[in-house]
Structures are given as C-alpha cells and as structure tokens.
C-alpha cells in the first residue's frame, strides 16, 4: 500500500500538523518506506486471534466516586501560555 502527497497532507491536517512543500515531499517518501515495512503484517494469517490491547489482559480498575484531590487549578494554570479569569485563553472562536 502506498500513499501520495495529497493523502499525506490530509493525514497531517488530521493530526493538526502543517508541512512545508519540502517536508511534504520528504515525509511522503519516508512514510511510504515505513508503510512498506509494516506491510509485512499482511503476510501473517491471524484469523480468530484475539487482539491484545493490554499486556496483562487487565481490565480498567474502578474506584469509588469520591473527591480525593484538592483544587490545584492555580498551580496548574501557572504554566499556561495565556489565562484570564481562571480560564485558558485562545483566539476568539465565535464573535
């Protein structure tokens, strides 16, 4: 399976990445090489094999619905690029 520059642009946008023309060219080539490598998986017959999502086959632990952590928002927001009135600020989305 190989993909072209248009498809790579589309994936980059899905991942919210922007590539220059040169980067697009290099990445298309390298991503195709990687897809060729991972394409080896298609050689294996794995019908009926359970997919392995967790190495120890553990299921998600549930905890009691209790508040245990203190409100640490001031500390956490102290490293934000931009805050105002305890909100994270981003460029205007709706006028």
């Amino acid at each position: 399976m190989s993909i072209n520059e248009e498809k790579v642009s589309q994936i980059a946008y899905l991942a919210r990445l922007q590539l220059t023309k040169k980067e697009l060219e290099i990445n298309t080539n390298e991503i195709n090489n990687i897809l060729h490598l991972v394409g080896q998986l298609q050689e294996i017959e794995a019908k009926g094999v359970e997919p392995m999502a967790h190495p120890l086959h553990m299921s998600q632990r549930l905890r009691d619905d209790e508040i245990k952590e203190i409100d640490d928002s001031k500390n956490l927001q102290s490293i934000a690029p931009k805050i105002g009135n305890s909100h994270y600020l981003v460029p205007t989305v709706i006028d």
Binding site: N27, L41, L56, P81, Y88
Partner: protein, 480 residues
C-alpha cells in the same frame, strides 16, 4: 569515589567516611566538566539541599538504603518546580507543577537528584539524536551514539557522572543504551513501576526502570521505584518483593533458551561471539542451554511500528499549545494556534510517528493496521508463553551491532531495524535486562535476559551471579 557501587556509597555514608554533600559536589563537578551532553538540566541547588537533608537523616540514623545517594533522572519524569522537557522544544518551557510517582518515591527515599538527563524527543529514537537539546555522546567513543532513548542516563552512568540513573523503555530504551554504553539496565514487567507523571509515549508499552553499574545496584533502585499506584490505572496491584533477597541464589540447573531468530542474519559476527562466550560462562556455572524458536519475533518491528505510533498520536494530541508547553507567536485563529504550535514544537521523528499513527487509526485502515498489529502482538506474546514452559530465561543480544557513528543512520527504517531484539519484550509486557558481556573493538556489548512475568528477582539473580564471575560491568571508558 565515582566508581563506588551503591552499596559501597551507602556504607560509606553510614560510617561517615564522606557526607552526601561531599559526594553530591563531586558528581556535580564531574557533570560540569564532561563533554557528553548527557544532561538537559543540572539541578545543583536542589541537589545540595537534598544532600543536606540526607546528611541530617543519616546523622539521626533515619536513613534508608539509598538516602544521600545522587542520581540522574530521565527528563521524561515530571519533577515539581523543575523543567521537564521530554527532550522536546514543545516542553522546553514546561516547569512541572507536580511530581511523577517515581520522582516522589525517590525523594521519599532520600536520594539526591543531580539533574534531568538527555533523551530522544518524547522517547522516540534509538540513538539520542532526536533530542531538541542535541545528541549525547557515547563515553567509550565520542563519535558514537550512546543509544536511545535513555541515552543521557546511560552515558552518565557509564562515565560515572552519576551513581545511578532512571530510564524508561517502550521498545528498548533502557536496554539498548545500557548495552551500547556498557552498563546494567532492567525494564520490569509492564505495570510494575507507576507511569503516573511519566510523560506518555505508548501507554501499553511504556515502563520505567533503573540504569546502574551492576545488578545489585539495580535491585536496590528497583526496590524504591516499584509498586502499585492508585494514580496509574495500568499499575499492577501486586506486592513488591525485596529484589536484593535472592541475588545470591545458585543458578545451577538454570535453563537458558536461545531463540534461533536472535542469532540470524543481521547480527554482527563479533557481537555474536561475545554473546556466545557469555552463554558459555553460564554453562560453566551449571546452567543448561537449549535452542528455542520465537517464530513470530521477526514481526515485532512491523507490529511495534504500528502500535507505538497509534498510541503516540493519541497521547501527543494533548500538546496543543493551550494549557501548557509551546505556543506559536500571534496565532490568527484557534486552528492556526494548533497547527503552528504543534508543527513548530515537535521534531521530525515525532511528527512522522504521529502521522503514521493518525493514518493507521483512520477510518478504512484501522482493521488492516492497528487491529492486525494487536492480533500479531498476541501471537508474539504466545511464542514466549510456549518458550517459558521449557526454559527459565531467554537470552540473546540486545542490539545487532555495537554503537554506530553519530549521524551515520539517516533513514528512519534503518534506525527502526536496530530495535529488532528488544521490541518483543515490550509487546508481550515481559521484563528484560541488559548486562555488560564483552567488548568489541573497545565498544561494549550487552547480553539480553528476558524473563517470565514478574521474574525481576530471578533476572537480577542471574545477572548478579554472572557479575560475580566476570568483570565486564567494572570496565569503564578510558577517560573516566
């Protein structure tokens, strides 16, 4: 001073032969005069403060095994009030507001953090050349890579700039640099060490562990690092053994499995010779050797390079320039903020893996890539299950070659092939270890030990007994 093991340092501290402050200053000076670029941040003030506290604890006889002992902390572990960059421009301004569980445990034990060690960006790399802060140099030869992603930690311990270091291993990132720098490193069973506050690369594979001079030291550090943590939903609720307890057990009758797939095409002849000599050493100690097969191990590379990028594309979506980390200048709108912050903040390899992951998870491709990889992952894991019915431990090389030249491997696929022997243990979630087992053209060769689930104690015992018979772990690069 700097060649002392952790036990020797601990005894010296207890007998007041030297103080923690003295050894801390000694190691800080060594780091400052080194040319290895193994640290991103040197935390001298914190170290001296922690050393002072440790000296007080020791004076009051309230010390634990590692109290007062300095270490290098991989820059992937969050450290409150200290920059935690994960080797990325994206987090160059990230002063962590909280401690990782591993950081907290090391603090509680009274250890002294010398600094944050260099690494491949977000732990993606096998050579440490993907760090925003520049490559780390291998202390055995400054033109060579130290391995990755925990390259800074490995170089620092190898050059005796730090008595021990922390590392993380997603596809070999503790074992491979340990091998290439000639130190001892152990990746425990998945879930043994808490991942809370350890910046996530691939959540179902990531696992932290110690990087040390020898197996006894690794046992002492793992005693501190390991344990169940409610804050990590993937942490295993299982008691921790005292890993030093069984170090001296005889390994007479040990059954070693050598996977024929680990000794085939691509393995450097001289590396193979060193590994086989080490296996002979085990035979002389009463172990028996059997050839085994891990028939699906050749699919570890394609499986890993689907699973890990998929998980990283999800994990790194949090780096969006909104709540912390890098934000681009003058964003035009929200989309521009996301696009430019991420494109300017991430390095090339990280972007590439995010794109591979985004592609493999996208509609229409999920079954062919991600689901298929998860199935093959099961087959790889089953191969080990079968093997451990017959043998106690699997052994082989860590890396197909010794350390290669800085800048010599340019294309990503060739770099990925260097991980061939280490990936399977991560995919299966098994513990793995690298111990020094020889030198090839004056560069270290590491022997890999892979054990069954929760067999850390056994692996450390096997490694320790080997280190009682050999002195490869005592060899240091000439300059150091």
């Amino acid at each position: 001073m700097h060649t002392k093991t952790l036990t020797q340092l601990s005894n010296g501290l207890a007998k007041k032969e030297f103080s923690s402050t003295e050894i801390t200053k000694h190691f800080i000076n060594r780091i400052k005069s080194s040319k290895l670029n193994s640290f991103i941040t040197i935390t001298e003030d914190i170290a001296l403060e922690q050393a002072k506290n440790a000296d007080n604890r020791i004076a009051n006889n309230k010390q634990e095994a590692l109290t007062g002992i300095p270490y290098a902390h991989k820059d992937i572990f969050c450290t409150k009030g200290v920059k935690t960059s994960a080797g990325s421009k994206m987090l160059d301004n990230f002063i962590s507001p909280y401690d990782a569980t591993v950081s907290h445990k090391l603090n509680t034990a009274g250890t002294v953090m010398l600094g944050k060690s260099n690494m491949d960006e977000f732990a993606m790399g096998s050579s440490n050349e993907n760090s925003y802060y520049g490559s780390v140099k291998n202390p055995w030869n400054l033109n060579k890579i130290p391995g990755g992603s925990s390259g800074g930690s490995a170089a620092a311990v190898a050059a005796r700039l730090s008595p021990f270091a922390t590392g993380t291993d997603t596809g070999g990132s503790i074992r491979q640099p340990s091998s290439l720098c000639g130190i001892t490193g152990i990746k425990p069973t998945y879930g043994r060490v808490s991942r809370y506050g350890m910046i996530a690369y691939a959540s179902s594979l990531d696992q932290a562990g110690p990087m040390t001079q020898n197996a006894e030291d690794a046992a002492l550090v793992l005693n501190v690092m390991a344990g169940f943590d409610k804050k990590d939903s993937t942490s295993a609720d299982k008691d921790v053994e005292d890993y030093t307890e069984k170090l001296e057990e005889s390994i007479n009758g040990l059954k070693i499995g050598l996977p024929k797939e680990f000794f085939s095409e691509g393995l450097d002849d001289d590396v193979a010779k060193n590994i086989l000599r080490a296996i002979k050493e085990f035979e002389s100690m009463g172990a028996s050797v059997k050839e085994i097969s891990l028939p699906n191990s050749s699919y570890a590379i394609p499986t890993y390079y689907i699973v890990a990028p998929c998980e990283c594309s999800s994990n790194l979506s949090r780096m969006d320039g909104v709540r912390y980390g890098y934000r681009c200048d003058n964003p035009k709108n929200l989309e521009d903020l996301y696009l430019r912050s991420r494109s300017e903040g991430f390095g090339e390899e990280v972007k590439r893996r995010i794109m591979i992951g985004a592609y493999a998870l996208s509609a229409g491709y999920y079954d062919a890539y991600y689901l298929k990889a998860q199935k093959v992952r099961h087959l790889i894991s089953d191969d080990f299950k079968k093997a451990f019915k017959d043998v106690d431990v699997v052994m082989g090389p860590v890396s197909p070659t010794t350390a290669f030249d800085l800048g010599s491997v340019k294309d990503p696929v060739s770099m990925y092939l260097a991980d061939i022997y280490t990936l399977s243990a991560n995919l299966a979630g098994l513990p793995g270890m690298s111990i020094p087992a020889g030198l090839s053209k004056n560069l270290p060769v590491g022997l890999q030990l892979i054990g069954n689930y929760w067999s850390e104690s056994k692996l450390l015992n096997i490694a320790h007994m080997f280190q009682q018979q050999t002195d490869w772990h005592k060899k240091t690069p000439q300059e150091y």
